[in-house]
């Protein structure tokens, strides 16, 4: 009965979404405020229905109702509760349900928080959101219904892929989806603005918090994903440039560009049509990414043939959303009133450069991801585009961005002076050069790239501090620093944190890539091995049992200078419900890096194959990403950006900033 309720709720949601997608436009055309106002209520209704449907599916998972095909295919009674619940979105149908739920959730948030938006504009935005929801609901109801029954009812389910039974991966997809879906708001704002034919600085101020939230969630999702790869797959890597990862990375790049270009719209009333275009492209990449991962398009070209209905629907939906919005753009964008002027050297130009480089990088990643597919689809050879391609692109395109990042915040709006900024950055240049020379000198050319990366990272980190000191006038009026710190807008703190985060990440990548020590060994209990100055001793290996797996667990102690200071317990698990091995690497972060141990299979005679790593500075990756997210939070809580803030206060602080 419960699954039928869920199914019914989806159908009701579709009806409501259809109403919500059409009626507001009619209301606007007729100037009927009541019809326009309907948009809010219809959105709340859609959210309620989506919540009921999602709840019904979750309930079926929690009680292990195997009469539902989707539950039987993806769950198992012996699974811990956390993974029964995360199993809901661990499959194609369920993840689409999550999409719809978050779409309606975000749309409701706009209806709720956006009371200050003009009614006409708000109902336009909500109507565009409803149209997106219609598309997803049709997809679910007609090709991917999660509530289909199964007869006869199996006694036991198939289980969830053990690799997914991990806290990192339980939260990674919802986080990523929240980010993807958050970009839909920017999309709807852009489309609504195109229909209305007007983009104002106020528009940018409205849309910015949504873009920022989406960007933060995307950042979190990407980091969780790479962290999962790092500790769960047991190969010591954290990024592979595989199509699944790229699918999430491309919208992030575009969202980062959008975040910066909308600042120009807000502050200087320039770059309008470009910002609108970015908003459209960012969400198109989200859609494309989800579908690419979830539909099996990238698994192989053959999966289209496996389920032509889904594949065709996906292509059709993408064509309507992307094609439709781009056509609208081509038609309306030229009508947007011309932009404010700015000089060659100015904050605006720096942000334009940022945008060009980020978008170009996204385009290159797209080419690298799609090229093999295209080639194969057109009957060419099967090839793969490997990490060297993407790494090369990243170095060529991101290095100038990081150099420019030092200058950008120091340049004035409209017309800046490069010489003045350059003078202030001299200490950063010196630090960067010293680091580069120290590394490159030492190694006779072998670590040239490491020196370069290190130099860039330090350049950025030092210049972020220099810029902050300049704003606080640390050297001119040190006694006023505290009061100046309080007065500094939170958005400025946000920017500094986020930029610092990039520098810290770059530092982590460079150092860990260059100086990771890896050993692959056969060890008997009692033996010890030296890795980067640490001695790992294997004490023993014992069998252990978990709720739905059995495992062998190794016990290592790690000593430095004869002093034991850490223990590691790597596991090799065998899941029983769906026979499969997983590696549980044991990772101990210490000040200078991560100790990392993996236990493989028995090598006979009581010996075991093991893999030991020392990964210096790798934690800087997660630390830097945390800085970026913290920066986002700072920016988001900036009073000037809060739409709901009382008018008086806002205009006062805005005047203070100008």
């Amino acid at each position: 009965m419960i699954p039928e309720i869920g199914h019914f709720a989806l159908a009701v949601a579709l009806m409501l979404a259809l109403v919500g997608a059409i009626v507001p436009h009619v209301g606007i055309a007729r100037g009927d405020a009541r019809l326009m106002g309907l948009a809010d209520r219809v959105i709340y209704g859609q959210f309620l229905m989506a919540l009921i449907a999602f709840g019904a599916l979750t309930y079926a998972y929690v009680i292990s109702d195997f009469s539902v095909l989707n539950v039987a295919a993806n769950s198992h009674t012996a699974k811990p509760m956390l993974y029964k619940i995360s199993g809901v979105w661990g499959n194609h149908e369920g993840s689409l349900m999550l999409w719809v739920l978050t779409l309606t959730l975000f749309a409701s948030a706009v209806a709720w928080r956006g009371k200050e938006l003009p009614l006409r504009f708000r109902s336009r935005v909500l109507a565009v959101q409803s149209a997106l929801i219609v598309g997803f609901l049709i997809f679910i109801l007609f090709t991917s219904n999660p509530f289909l029954r199964l007869d006869p009812v199996p006694v036991e389910g198939n289980g969830l892929n053990p690799l997914l039974q991990d806290p990192g991966l339980a939260f990674h997809p919802p986080m990523l989806y929240l980010g993807y879906v958050g970009l839909s708001i920017a999309f709807s704002f852009a489309v609504a603005a195109l229909i209305e034919g007007e983009v104002t600085p106020l528009w940018a101020r409205w849309v910015r918090p949504w873009t920022l939230s989406a960007w933060m969630l995307l950042t979190g999702g990407l980091v969780l994903g790479s962290w999962w790869a790092y500790y769960e797959l047991g190969w010591g890597g954290w990024w592979f440039w595989d199509p699944v990862e790229n699918a999430a990375f491309m919208p992030w790049l575009i969202a980062s560009a959008l975040l910066h270009s909308s600042i120009v719209v807000e502050k200087r009333d320039a770059l309008k049509s470009w910002t609108i275009l970015l908003a459209i492209i960012a969400f198109s990449f989200s859609l494309f990414g989800t579908f690419m991962v979830r539909s099996g398009v990238i698994t192989s070209v053959h999966s289209f043939a496996n389920d032509p209905e889904r594949g065709l629907y996906i292509l059709g939906f993408l064509a309507v959303v992307v094609g439709g919005s781009l056509s609208l753009y081509a038609w309306r964008a030229p009508k947007l009133s011309p932009s404010g002027l700015f000089g060659m050297v100015s904050r605006e130009s720096a942000l334009v450069l940022n945008n060009i480089l980020l978008s170009t990088f996204a385009a290159v990643v797209l080419v690298g991801t799609l090229y093999p597919m295209m080639l194969e689809a057109t009957g060419g050879a099967q090839i793969t585009v490997g990490p060297p391609f993407f790494e090369f692109a990243a170095i060529v395109l991101m290095s100038p961005l990081i150099v420019a990042l030092g200058f950008g915040p120091l340049l004035a709006w409209k017309r800046g002076r490069i010489g003045r900024a350059g003078q202030m950055l001299i200490p950063a240049l010196i630090v960067a050069l010293v680091a580069f020379l120290a590394v490159a000198w030492d190694s006779a050319g072998g670590l040239l790239m490491t020196g370069f990366g290190l130099g860039l990272a330090l350049w950025l980190i030092v210049s972020v501090f220099l810029e902050l000191f300049e704003r606080l006038q640390l050297f001119k009026k040190p006694e006023k620093v505290l009061s100046r710190m309080k007065a500094l807008p939170r958005a400025t703190w946000g920017m500094s944190f986020a930029h610092l985060g990039i520098g810290v990440i770059l530092l982590g990548i460079t150092v860990s890539e260059a100086w990771t020590t890896e050993k692959l060994l056969i060890m008997a209990p009692g033996e010890q091995a030296e890795v980067a100055g640490f001695s790992f001793r294997l004490h023993g290996v014992e069998p252990v049992a978990g709720p739905n797996y059995t495992a062998i667990r190794g016990h290592f102690t790690v000593a430095e200078d004869g002093q034991v200071f850490n223990q590691l317990f790597p596991e090799d698990r065998v899941y029983t419900d769906q026979v499969m091995n997983t590696t549980e690497a044991a990772i101990a972060p210490i000040w200078t890096g991560d100790l990392y141990a993996v236990i493989g299979e028995s090598a006979g005679e009581g010996k075991w194959s093991v893999r030991l790593y020392f990964k210096p500075f790798i934690s800087f990756l997660w630390l830097g990403a945390t800085f970026m997210i913290v920066g986002g939070v700072f920016s988001l809580t900036d009073r000037r950006k809060r739409i709901g803030a009382p008018k008086g206060k806002r205009s006062k602080s805005a005047a203070g900033a100008a």
């Binding site: 661990g90 499959n91 194609h92 892929n161 690799l163 997914l164 991966l169 797959l233 047991g234 190969w235 595989d242 699944v244 991962v293 979830r294 099996g296 990238i298 698994t299 192989s300 011309p338 932009s339 002027l341 700015f342 060659m344 334009v352 450069l353 060009i356 480089l357 170009t360 385009a363 290159v364 080419v367 690298g368 090229y371 093999p372 050879a381 099967q382 090839i383 793969t384 585009v385 490997g386 060297p388 391609f389 090369f392 692109a393 060529v396 395109l397 692959l520 060994l521 056969i522 499969m580 091995n581 997983t582 590696t583 993996v598 493989g600 090598a603 006979g604 010996k607 194959s609 893999r611």
Partner: protein
């Protein structure tokens, strides 16, 4: 006014030409990088034999791990197995820890090059990422031959 228009045009021109330069750069980058070793051929055993791939040329080999072919050498870290697409077989040697999802009879993607004796010396064995994602090209193109070996013997 006319001055304003002029400089706006100039400004557009600058932005546009920078964008075009970046795009051209990106295309060159793609061409350059794709020409190097970042682009590797992806082959199944029968195409390796058909194309007479030379020893030392790097490529990715995909197919099924043949049942009963898996062996571990004395050092305990080197593995031998046969990758098949049910029409041709290639022996593979790999030193390292195998990914969790490696098993006989299942799809696998390995990266490396043939040695002079025709053994594929792999330095990477790719793991399956999650249940919805298999490394591309592991399923043999002639699925028919794998499912009905008796028929395949005919051709």
């Amino acid at each position: 006014m006319s001055k304003g228009l002029k400089s706006r045009k100039k400004q557009r021109l600058i932005v546009l030409s920078t964008a075009v330069a970046a795009l051209v750069g990106a295309v060159l980058l793609v061409l350059f990088a794709l020409g190097g070793d970042s682009l590797s051929l992806f082959l199944q055993p029968s195409s390796v034999l058909e194309k007479k791939i030379q020893a030392g040329q790097r490529f990715r080999l995909g197919g099924l791990v043949q049942d009963g072919s898996f062996k571990k050498l004395e050092d305990g870290l080197t593995y031998k197995f046969v990758v098949t697409d049910c029409a041709a077989d290639i022996p593979v040697q790999f030193k390292g820890l195998l990914p969790d999802l490696f098993r006989e009879g299942q799809g696998v993607v390995t990266e490396g090059a043939l040695d002079a004796t025709g053994i594929f010396m792999a330095d990477t064995v790719l793991a399956k990422h999650d249940e919805n994602y298999t490394p591309k090209g592991t399923m043999p193109k002639n699925v028919e031959a794998c499912e009905h070996p008796e028929k395949a013997a005919g051709y």
